[in-house]
């Protein structure tokens, strides 16, 4: 009944053997048989970082899909091994910030009982494959991408040849016309496409990424038959594994190889490897595709009429309905966003009580399934319209109904300096500041869709380059400053934001955003012109003038 991939004994055996291996590695480290340098690459391949305060454990949520027993297990882990909460990341995973190292093998053993793991959630290997949070329910979908995600998950799991790459490697798969998985800024973007004759295959992008060198991925193959997917991915990975740079961590991603060779030459090398490896490359048979598809069959929808659930409803419900629910391809149903962007909370954080409450609601109203989005919210994908009013009340009681999806306060933020040892600056405090500045919902609604994305350092876990407004924390002589970019976009016409000028001090971030949106409101050509459209039409000049001219006056 549950629409996540169901383990067979084969999968269970593998995960249990992996847990046993990690238990042995942890024991040897604690006994002094492995040095920190020896243990690091081993623990990273199991999602375990040593962070500012404590270890951080990143648990894989394959392509963002959770069953309710899995969500309840995450709540249990938060409660018993951590400080009663978890943090959902931009890669559809969950992070626990306070586990004890010696307990991590036990946590992994508990996760295995609900068919979960932390394999390859960090380290220089193929990471969790991500996808569209509306997979299977979007009207614009060509084909459900999840069976292909699962195929890639299994193929990449402890791949013998590609477990020690030059750098981390991220793959996103989309099956719809609109890209809701930011696939263009992944190492590989896999798009299901339909040819003129109706056949469905893949288009492949490669070399996208954020971090210090943000680049939009380039198409290296226009059409790939479905059964060839893994063979082609192996060719890309082998070219990268052999020729990607290993001398400089900042030049080691595949985007640098693609850029230095040129996309045409890189694609030629991949094609040559693909052809040369024909005898040994994995091919996906029809039976295996059918087996994987069977895990993602549609739930038993009822025949329900489409109704406007908001007609005559109270204003609070109408606001939530408009902003936090989306059309569904099946009549009588809506997809519902569960907002993890409540004022006062760190974006993406969720308590164990909220997890347990949401699991019950998902069982009652959405076929026992929950999804994680790349912008750190959750989704109940299959809610009957007639259940929306009840669901809204219940979500509001849990603090999960803030009607701000798609607005400025629905921002992405990495954990920042408070938790991450890589960060230059805090993000959680700035998020609070922005929430306080923009606490008027009607004003937010008037602004329309504005995506704010914030990272605490150049590694760009908060995707700041593709925020309509991007915020990057920088360290200036020991103080936290913030560089602001405008005009980035993660979907549609993907673009990278441009820096508006010198960075601003921490106390000024929300006020600067207020200036930016004032310029937008003054200059937009009617309420239909979105923030992003206005920025693209006007360029940076009027925003710079407002922000820095006032600085000059103040000085």
């Amino acid at each position: 009944m549950v629409r996540v991939y169901k383990y067979e004994p084969f999968d269970r055996t593998f995960v249990e053997e992996r847990v046993a291996e990690f238990r042995d590695q942890t024991r040897r480290f604690l006994a002094g048989e492995l040095s920190e340098d020896e243990f690091r690459p081993l623990r990273l391949r199991n999602g375990l970082y040593i962070q500012t305060h404590a270890p951080m454990l990143r648990v894989a949520i394959p392509y963002g899909m959770l069953s309710t027993p899995q969500l309840r297990m995450l709540a249990h882990i938060a409660r018993h091994y951590d400080r009663d909460y978890g943090h959902f990341s931009t890669r559809q995973n969950i992070q626990f910030n306070w586990p004890k190292l010696e307990q991590v093998p036990d946590i992994l053993a508990e996760l295995a009982t609900v068919e979960m793991h932390a394999i390859q959630t960090s380290g220089n290997c193929i990471r969790n494959v991500t996808t569209d949070h509306f997979a299977g329910v979007a009207a614009d979908e060509i084909e459900d991408p999840r069976p292909w995600c699962e195929l890639i998950r299994q193929w990449s799991t402890q791949h013998p040849e590609f477990n020690y790459l030059p750098r981390k490697f991220k793959i996103a798969v989309t099956g719809a016309a609109a890209d809701r998985a930011v696939s263009a800024v992944h190492d590989i973007g896999v798009h299901l496409v339909r040819a003129a004759d109706g056949a469905i295959g893949f288009e492949i992008l490669c070399g996208g990424g954020l971090g210090r060198m943000p680049i939009i991925g380039k198409r290296i193959r226009e059409w790939l038959p479905q059964g060839e997917l893994l063979a082609y991915l192996e060719a890309i990975l082998r070219v990268y594994n052999r020729h990607g740079r290993r001398d400089n961590i900042h030049r080691a991603r595949i985007k640098v190889l693609v850029k230095s060779l040129g996309v045409a030459e890189f694609a030629r090398q991949v094609e040559r490897e693909y052809a040369a490896n024909r005898a040994f490359a994995p091919r996906v048979g029809e039976a295996e595709i059918a087996r994987l598809r069977a895990s993602f069959t549609p739930p038993p929808y009822l025949a329900l009429p489409d109704t406007d659930a908001s007609a005559g409803a109270p204003a609070a419900f109408v606001a939530w309905y408009r902003h936090n629910t989306r059309a569904h391809k099946v009549s009588g149903y809506r997809a519902v966003f569960v907002s993890l962007k409540k004022h006062g909370e760190a974006p993406g954080d969720m308590t164990s009580a909220q997890m347990l409450g949401l699991a019950d609601l998902a069982d009652r109203h959405s076929f026992g399934e929950v999804r994680v989005t790349h912008d750190q919210n959750l989704v109940l994908a299959d809610v009957p319209q007639q259940a929306l009013a009840t669901l809204h009340r219940s979500l509001a009681e849990l603090g999960l109904a803030t009607p701000n999806i798609g607005t400025l306060t629905d921002m992405i933020a990495c954990p920042g300096l408070d938790f991450c040892s890589l960060a230059n600056a805090g993000t959680i405090g700035v998020a609070r500041q922005i929430h306080a500045q923009f606490d008027d919902l009607d004003y937010l609604y008037d602004l329309g869709e504005i995506q704010v994305k914030m990272s605490g350092c150049m590694n760009a876990c908060g995707h700041h380059h593709v925020g309509h407004i991007g915020i990057l924390g920088v360290d200036k002589r020991g103080e936290e400053w913030y560089q602001i970019t405008l005009g980035g976009s993660a979907s549609g016409q993907v673009s990278l934001g441009q820096v508006i000028g010198p960075s601003v001090p921490k106390a000024q971030v929300a006020a600067t955003l207020a200036q930016i949106v004032e310029v937008y409101l003054e200059r937009r050509q009617g309420a239909d012109e979105s923030f992003l459209q206005t920025v693209r039409r006007l360029g940076l000049a009027p925003f710079k003038e407002r922000i820095y001219a006032e600085d000059a006056v103040a000085a």
């Binding site: 053997e17 220089n124 193929w155 013998p160 040849e161 020690y164 594994n241 290993r246 048979g285």
Partner: protein
Amino acid sequence: MRKTLWRRELRADAWRYPGESGEGPPVLTLAELLHAAAQGRLGASGIAVSLGPTDDVELLAPWVERLVLIVVQFEKSGDGRGFSQAQLLRQRLGYGAELRAGGVVKRDHLYLLARCGFDAFDLEPGEDLQAALAQLARYTVAYQAAADTLVQPRRREGLAA
């Protein structure tokens, strides 16, 4: 003398690696092998060669039948290039004799190295043979096809190679 895990037993190794002195038969660098071959001086059999991480293994294709030992040198533990070199040697070049992981080889890498086709490993001094063998036997299942010389994990049906 080097302690080499070959198949399932420990062997004292007599081969003389590039840069080593001593009595044993020499292991050539790739450059030395190609140079000798170009001059027609390469022996008809019993040749051993040592590869660095940037060496292109496909250059060995014409001489594969004459080789009895290829050592892939890991300058850093877990350098991924060696894994691709091994798979290419076993699969594309059809190399069937001893394929050894040399240099920095950690116990925790043995299983994946074996999956890529290595059947011999220069172990660290003090490494425990039983522990090394246990690591090779750690997994009974694997999702992918690979060269798999020493280990034979069960594969899922349906993914043809």
